[in-house]
Symmetry: C3
Subunit: 368 residues, 3 copies
């Protein structure tokens, strides 16, 4: 019979340097995933005949610098309910799905990416990896260096990128360039009229159009959290989280230009006031022989009740040299500037409020 | 050389709904293993010549709805000594063995199923998976919804289905239909005349006969626990656990009828009185084209000192539609009725004592 | 395309018996890794042309007796910063690297063996596995049965065998028998002039010469720990750790003789005084038909401030019978004698100070 499982992965190791304001502190690490996220996975597809197919995808993260594996997974997407610590062991936190697909599209069940994540990563020259990662991804969860300003409940960071207990429907590939998906993820709470009945439940969708050199897409998602964090013993902000974004790119051949805009809102709750955030990125990929130059400018501003507006701006420049299709050497330098009370810092350094941070990556990516 | 390792597994996703008494509470989840247990494994066999073979089997559970992996494993089978939380990461909790086999049978070392588990799962039309799982499996460990009535120490739930540190001997396949096994599992305590010397040690055996449409087997097992739970900081009942069962089936072609009877006993200990339990199942599998109808009635009664006899009765009906040998769609509905102080509830719902619970599964099973 | 990933491993199960002094206590276990360390791994190499190659190696330990997987990994090699408990789930704690290699040698990034480990394991007839493991490996970390005498911080036991966040360079294979490596491992602390800036950082090297029946090598390594264990909430000794060793072997055909000498030093710190240790091994491997006899004598003495000198001496004798290249049966018996306050005990038994311990292994090793 045909082989029914493919073992695949990426091992990406990075020497990462970060420096906080005025050289008061710095950090050098051997870390991972500076170009592509390190991973180990198992996947396969079975042709069921008549255009129908069943497939599975199990993919976990790797901390290949120290041998650890998975990251914490929010249990049922809920506020504060988490699996054990990072580094616990291989879990299929990146994607864990089973699908049935046909010419009508695909139904996918399990843990998968949120629809809103795609515009941030596809339309970022750095693909949301390494020191050049767009601020529109890292700012909402990190609060630009001030945890209290985070726009998602601390215990649920995964819901920005992925959701568990998800039912997704994807449009088929034959719609003349139109693509799209809709997802519903479950909080899995007991339904007994308690305040946290919907905690961790959410939904989202994405619609796009790609043809020739052109590609554009928009996405929306929201996740419910109980106003009082019943499950959130760990504390952290509560309140429903809403996000939408739009992104696009044009491939001019000598360069691929891209950009995106993203806006987030955290509703008021018993423990924290309403907060909003918005940011954007503009960037380019420029092929150079066997390599590629990457550049981006991204910015994010959080709007707090009372008028404070912490904001960061970041410029990143990088180069990837492909030794083969599977193996590449890369380097990136980034510089972030904080204003209005932000203290965003790069590569594990710590930043003083309203000052700057510089980061540098040098690494190797090998896929299999 | 021949390939020495096979990567195999099952990804089974289920939309599971459960409702407690009179609709006061319900729960809907995307969960896993509604038809077959989700798993990822590695196995292989080496022909050593002369009829001798060496083989290994490493198989772990998957929580593919949220990307988590293994379940808690009792350390050395002992009361209260456990590995970290569920969902920690891939562990080979389902089976982790190395074997040497020949025409004299097989010696198997590691973590494996107890001999008594087989009659419960083979002679259950639902194979001890999903909402239709026989009460004879889930009642002894769960106490029919009242933890204090559980017949096995809470921290050792694995010993009902599997035991670690196990040495097993299996009869060869060429005995004219007779099959059997004997197992000894070690508690691995220091032997120094302390009260818990034998905590977690046990043994069991199974003998059966299968020929043509007929198959019948009986099994027995017991595990020692110290009367005072020295290792059981987590509390829970203590006392030796004994179980035996008998099961059989007849394949009439148009239907396969099956049934089993199971009896358990927990000895008195410092923290709890003696308790007994017994239950049975009758069921059928009916092939229908590419599919199969499954039906069962199971019941379990716990006999507590003082005369209380919590009891549950469950009816389950399901249908499996095979899209291929590897992929199936399935659905099951079950209804459980509690009496005498039982509060057993289906699919994560909560039940009021002496009332009913309804559960429903709809899912897809894909194996590789 | 060529296959890009190899799944490999070893499942080694051992019935291990240990007895402390005068029979007061004993322990029998089904354990693992009595001959070779149980493991599961994924590795591959890509030919990049021009003599250049990229490769990866992900290898985790297996507790195949109970289905658990990885062992604790010190986070960033630092004192007291650890990943969750043993048995948490599959982590690539044995080796987790990505490499670029050419005729100039190999650069390897990730978690890898320290250079000093190799002389202890290669020049030990028991390969640092099972009850016969050389005292030069187990004594420095275990303090010969008295934890306070351990020569490495308790929370960092891994640094003796492996280091995380490691950058290694290996000489190429074409230097006429000369081989060698140099490694630098990072503590990854914030550099802000705090006392623990260098905590967990270290380096080491190894140089050797092998030709025909002859092989000899020397190695050195040191790891910095802050004098005050800032990260060491778990307590345990602190202070920089230094080790060097030399080893060699001569293959006479009818027997392979080998030996090594190892010396360690723990610097004084706020919580503990300086301590030194030294030990040596002499051993032999004698081929006998399809099998091999193994024998060794090893000893280790810890020199504490104040003059106390706990010391243990161990004799081990074993036999391995190869059923094939991949599968072997083996047995080992060892006896250890304690002096000067040592209480080293074999196979999980407990020993009385200055007395003896006996251990016995019987097992099967199957590789794939």
């Amino acid at each position: 019979a045909q082989s029914s499982v493919t073992v695949f992965g990426i091992v990406d190791a990075t020497i990462a340097y970060g420096k906080g304001t005025d050289g008061a502190s710095s950090k050098t690490q051997l870390t991972n995933s500076g170009y592509n996220s390190s991973r180990l996975g198992f996947r396969g597809t079975e042709d069921l005949g008549g255009g129908l197919a069943a497939s599975f995808w199990l993919e976990g993260s790797l901390g290949n610098d120290d041998g650890t594996a998975g990251q914490r997974i929010p249990v049922g997407n809920q506020n504060g309910l988490q699996a054990p610590n990072d580094g616990a062991g291989l879990v299929f936190n990146r994607r864990s799905t089973v699908s049935l697909s046909g010419n009508w599209g695909e139904v996918r069940l399990g843990r998968d990416y949120t629809p809103t994540f795609w515009n941030l990563t596809i339309f970022d020259p750095f693909g949301t990896n390494g020191v050049g990662t767009t601020l529109t991804l890292v700012a909402p969860a990190g609060g630009l260096g001030v945890a209290a300003n985070a726009l998602v409940p601390v215990g649920t960071r995964g819901v920005i990128v992925r959701a568990s207990n998800d039912i997704g429907y994807f449009l088929p590939a034959n719609l003349g360039g139109i693509y799209g998906q809709i997802n519903y993820w479950m909080g899995e709470n007991v339904q007994n009229n308690a305040a946290n009945e919907k905690d961790g439940s959410g939904w989202g969708g994405r619609i796009g159009y790609g043809a020739g050199p052109f590609n554009v897409a928009a996405a929306y998602a929201q996740t419910k959290y109980d106003a009082t964090p019943v499950n959130g013993a760990a504390g952290g902000p509560s309140g429903d989280f809403t996000t939408w974004n739009i992104g696009g790119q044009w491939d001019f051949g000598m360069a691929k230009l891209m950009g995106h805009y993203s806006a987030e809102k955290r509703d008021a709750s018993v423990t924290s006031a309403e907060a909003k955030g918005k940011g954007w990125l503009i960037g380019a990929l420029v092929p150079v022989g066997a390599g590629e130059i990457r550049a981006s400018y991204s910015t994010y501003k959080i709007e707090l009740v009372g008028g404070a507006e912490p904001e960061a701006k970041q410029f990143a420049l990088g180069y990837v040299h492909n030794l083969s299709k599977r193996t590449a050497l890369y380097t990136t330098i980034a510089r972030a500037k904080n204003e209005g009370g932000a203290a965003f810092a790069l590569n594990g350094s710590t930043a003083v409020v309203n000052n700057t941070s510089t980061g540098f990556d040098l690494g190797i990516r090998h896929s299999f």
